[in-house]
């Protein structure tokens, strides 16, 4: 075995591993988004048991560390007869976890839609689900966008935790490359830069969306120029 300097080969390896980070993030986004819609629908449903179920689900997934959820999925599913590998465990965990966070985000924006809309819809004879689908969600969508994009940044960063169950994404590739180069400053510095390039544009976009949504709702406050004068 040879120790090498961090060079183009190693950089390429890191970039290739970034693919898996992106794939995992997209799975979390898609899976979490779908589950989140269902959870949000339950959260505002007219049936109390559904509301409690959703509330409990959200509390559990938001109130325990995602690493523990990952461990439970990875090591524990043999009890239930499933056969996870790190990928399946990570995909399921991130989707369920994302579902809780998205559920809260979607519910928040659903709640922001004026109650009058629900009442008018009922008066027109619509039941719960069609109301949600045709009347409320379209209006809530604009409000959901900034926190959803903001949460995407969280998802990308959280994929790094999947390295701790052996999934080969960017963070794990970082430790692997470090083992053959022993140049942690360069390796982790480069990896930080890659994550930054993935996340920062999303963060900026989320900020932009937030400003666009907030334009009609807020008056800008002036920053005082100097404290001492």
């Amino acid at each position: 075995m040879s120790l090498r300097d961090f060079g183009p080969n190693e950089l390429m390896f890191l970039i290739m591993a970034t693919r898996w980070t992106i794939v995992l993030a997209l799975i979390a986004f898609a899976g979490g988004g779908v589950i989140g819609l269902i959870v949000a629908a339950f959260r505002v449903a007219p049936l109390p048991p559904l509301r409690w179920l959703a509330a409990g689900y959200i509390q559990f997934f938001m109130g325990t560390p995602i690493l523990i959820q990952l461990f439970m999925a990875y090591y524990g599913s043999s009890l239930l007869g499933f056969r996870p590998d790190p990928w399946a465990a990570a995909a399921v965990t991130f989707s369920l976890n994302g579902g809780a966070f998205f559920g809260e985000i979607f519910r928040g924006s659903i709640d922001a839609v004026p109650k009058g809309q629900w009442e008018a819809s009922t008066a027109l004879g619509f039941r719960f689900l069609p109301t949600l689908r045709l009347v409320i969600l379209p209006q809530a969508t604009k409000l959901m966008l900034p926190p959803t994009v903001g949460f995407m940044v969280q998802i990308v960063k959280t994929t790094s935790v999947a390295s701790l169950i052996g999934l080969t994404e960017l963070a794990r590739a970082a430790t692997q490359v470090n083992t053959v180069t022993f140049q942690p400053v360069v390796v982790f510095g480069t990896v930080s830069a890659i994550y930054f390039m993935l996340c920062w544009p999303l963060s900026l976009y989320a900020g932009y969306l937030e400003r666009k949504v907030g334009q009609g709702l807020q008056v800008k406050t002036r920053r005082p120029l100097l404290l001492a004068s």
Binding site: P65, I68, M72, K157, S160, A171, N178, F188, S192, P224
Partner: protein, 221 residues
């Protein structure tokens, strides 16, 4: 092969787990304290400081908030020694966690600071108060009160963030749980118990923060 859940082997080691809880709380409390101090200084520097102060602070915030905590942990623990600074696992964990929270706290508190009506500050100036006093008496408390929900939510996230410091060999609840799994081979049972413990910790923390807010922000605006 485990076909039935057996919690017995886990409960025997409850004392070890409790030690882990203590260590987790220590990490969380210390990093929250330091992180909030960093955040306060950062928010003030960002909002009121000259360009050569506010710009590096903004860069620090963007850098930390757009990179994973795990990488920040690795960097502090493995890279700093190469640059001369060797810290123990726990110290490195506290440092990285504090720097991490500091960035988020800076942003949150900055929003709070900027939400204080300009009129308040102008009134304070017209009364002859100088910078430091204005910050301390006029800005700080309303700013914190304004963003208290966001801030305490971030603190709770910090508590859960402590679960990954085992990656640099710091000891806290999750790392101890992993040790226990190695010993007893009862992975699912151990993690269920750990999940419950974290859940209880989070609920307790939420209650504490709610109580604190009633204590601190007794008067109306």
């Amino acid at each position: 092969m485990q076909t039935a859940l057996q919690f017995g082997p886990v409960f025997i080691h409850l004392d070890t787990l409790l030690m882990g809880v203590v260590q987790t709380i220590q990490l969380a409390v210390l990093s929250i304290l330091f992180g909030t101090v960093i955040g306060t200084l950062g928010a003030i520097g960002r909002s009121f400081g000259p360009r050569w102060v506010s710009w590096p602070i903004a860069a620090y915030v963007e850098l930390i908030r757009n990179t994973p905590l795990l990488i920040q942990l690795y960097f502090v623990f493995f890279s700093l020694p190469m640059l001369g600074l060797k810290l123990s696992s726990n110290s490195a964990a506290i440092l990285a966690l504090s720097i991490h929270l500091g960035a988020y706290a800076t942003e949150i508190l900055r929003a709070g600071v900027e939400s204080v009506p300009v009129g308040q500050i102008e009134a304070a100036k017209s009364l002859g108060l100088k910078g430091y006093h204005i910050i301390r008496h006029v800005i700080l408390v309303p700013a914190v009160r304004a963003v208290y929900p966001a801030l305490s939510a971030q603190f709770i996230l910090q508590l859960m963030g402590t679960s990954i410091v085992g990656a640099i060999a710091a000891e806290e609840l999750t790392a101890i749980a992993n040790n226990l799994v190695m010993q007893t081979f009862r992975s699912f049972e151990v993690y269920i118990v750990i999940a419950v413990i974290y859940f209880v910790l989070v609920q307790a923390a939420s209650l504490i923060f709610a109580g604190l807010s009633r204590l601190l922000f007794r008067w109306k605006t």
